[in-house]
Every structure is written in C-alpha cells, then in structure tokens.
C-alpha cells in the first residue's frame, strides 16, 4: 500500500475504529436489552464498512459486494431471533427491559 492510498483512505479507517468504540460502549454500558441489540447493529455496520473499503482498495468489488449481501441476510436473521429472545425476557420479567432485573443465573 503506497502512502498516497493510505492518506486517501485513512479517514475511512478512523471512522471504522470510532464506530467500533461507539458500538462496544453502547453494548457494555447500557442496561437496556434492546439498546444492547442496537449496539450489536453498530458493530456489524463497522465491519461492513471495513469489508467495503477492503474491496475498494484491492479492487475486488464484485467479491466484497457478494460477501456484504450475505452478511446482511445473516444480520437480519440474527437480529430477528435476538429480538425474539429479548421479547421473551420482557414477558418473563414483569414488563421490564432492564438487565439488572434479569440477573438470575450466577457464575
């Protein structure tokens, strides 16, 4: 990678790292289960951006686009099932989404 391309793409890499930080913070600090899922979404967005940039730099656009399409399908199914689990937690916790009310298992 020459220095020129690096300078051209450095802002993209910085924003990937920033998105990672935001997503992880959102996942780890919040107590709301739905907001945890939103944090997961932000993390997956960062990974998507990274793969797209890699495809652009190395000029493998067809490959990376097909990878991203598959990733999006996985993401949708993942979030749907995770949402079902969150709704189950909600139904069993007397209508609370707070993680602090959930901790029953220890270890």
């Amino acid at each position: 990678m020459t220095l020129e391309t690096l300078i051209r793409f450095w802002p993209f890499f910085i924003s990937v790292v920033m998105l990672f930080i935001i997503g992880l913070y959102c996942m780890l600090v919040t107590y709301n289960t739905i907001r945890v899922l939103i944090g997961i979404e932000l993390l997956i967005k960062a990974a998507t951006l990274l793969i797209i940039i890699a495809g652009y730099i190395t000029n493998h656009l067809a490959l990376t686009q097909s990878l991203v399409i598959t990733m999006i399908v996985i993401e949708v199914i993942f979030i749907t099932v995770a949402m079902g689990i969150v709704m189950g937690i909600f139904a069993h916790n007397k209508g609370s989404l707070d993680v602090r009310d959930t901790r029953n298992l220890k270890g």
Binding site: M1, L6, R8, W10, P11, F12, F13, I14, S15, V17, M18, L19, I21, I22, G23, Y25, C26, V29, N32, I34, R35, L37, I38, G39, E41, L42, K45, T48, I52, I53, G55, Y56, T58, N59, H60, L61, A62, L63, T64, Q65, S66, V68, I69, T70, I72, V73, I74, E75, V76, I77, I79, T80, V81, M83, G84, I85, V86, M87, G88, G95
Partner: protein, 162 residues
C-alpha cells in the same frame, strides 16, 4: 474527498446520537440514519448493489423490526424514565470524549503499513460472482431463511395457558 469526510462525520454523529439519546424510538431512528449514511459511502466506493441491500434491508426492515419491538414492549412512563436515566448521563458523557480522542490520536498517528496488495481481479459482475462462485453462500441464504421462520415460530408464539 471532502464530501467523503463530511458523510463520514455525519455517520459518526448519527451513531453518537443513537447511543446517547434517551428515547429508544429515537435510537432506532438514529440507527436507520447510520445505515443511510453508510449506504451513501458504499455507493461512492463503487458498491451499488450492496448499497441497495443495505438501504432496503438494514435501514428499512431492521428499523421496522426495532420500532415494532419497542412499541410492543410498552416503554416505561415518563417519570420512571427520568428516574432510571438519572445515572445515565454519568455513564454516557465519557463516550464523545473517548471517540474524539481516539479519532484525534489516529489522525495524528503516522502509520506506515507496507502491504503488498493482491492482484486486482478482472472486471466481473456481482451477479456472476454470487451465482457461479459462491453457491454455498446462496444455499446458506436458503437455510437461514428456513431457520428464521423456525425461530419466529418458536419465539414469538404465545404460550398456551394450561
């Protein structure tokens, strides 16, 4: 280049808003706007097909999913929210500082990564790659959809009272 930086900073701002805002509904809308900004970046990085998927599925369908879930779970009343959100500000005001510091440090950093890039591939179509070279992934799509229907059938079904 300047346009790219503007869109990227919009994306980061939308992500910050998604995380920091109090209302879950606004948070879901913020997520949709992050997806929309990402779509524009993908389009500018010459990946239009994936961008369409991102816009329709992530920005559309997943936001609908989140909004449905939020409205089904009857959020707490306003006073309860205020009660719970009191310590929220204490926990979250570090985030913009951390993000800004990380961004500043990374942009000032003088990184030299010498990579030998792989040879560029011949000009190919996404459809060709997806249907001819990545058939296993397509099979995976089918299995994922079946799995998703099973998951919805198991998890969202109301429990029968006995």
């Amino acid at each position: 280049m300047l346009l790219d930086i503007v869109i990227l900073s919009l994306l980061i701002l939308a992500a910050l808003w998604t995380t920091m805002t109090r209302s879950l509904l606004r948070s879901a809308i913020g997520l949709a706007s992050v997806s929309a900004a990402l779509t524009i970046i993908m389009f500018r990085l010459r990946s239009p097909v994936a961008a369409v998927f991102e816009l329709s599925v992530c920005s559309g369908f997943i936001s609908v999913l989140f909004v449905t879930a939020i409205s089904l779970t009857n959020p707490l009343t306003r006073s309860e929210i205020m009660e719970r959100m009191k310590d929220r500000l204490n926990r979250f005001w570090y985030l913009p500082l951390i993000v800004a510091a990380a961004g500043l440090a990374l942009s000032l950093m003088n990184v030299e990564i010498f990579l030998r890039l792989p040879p560029a591939e011949a000009e190919r179509d996404v459809r060709n790659v997806l249907w001819n070279m990545r058939q296993l992934d397509l099979l995976g799509h089918i299995i994922l959809l079946i799995l998703g229907s099973f998951g919805v059938a198991v998890l969202f079904k109301k429990q029968r009272d006995k």
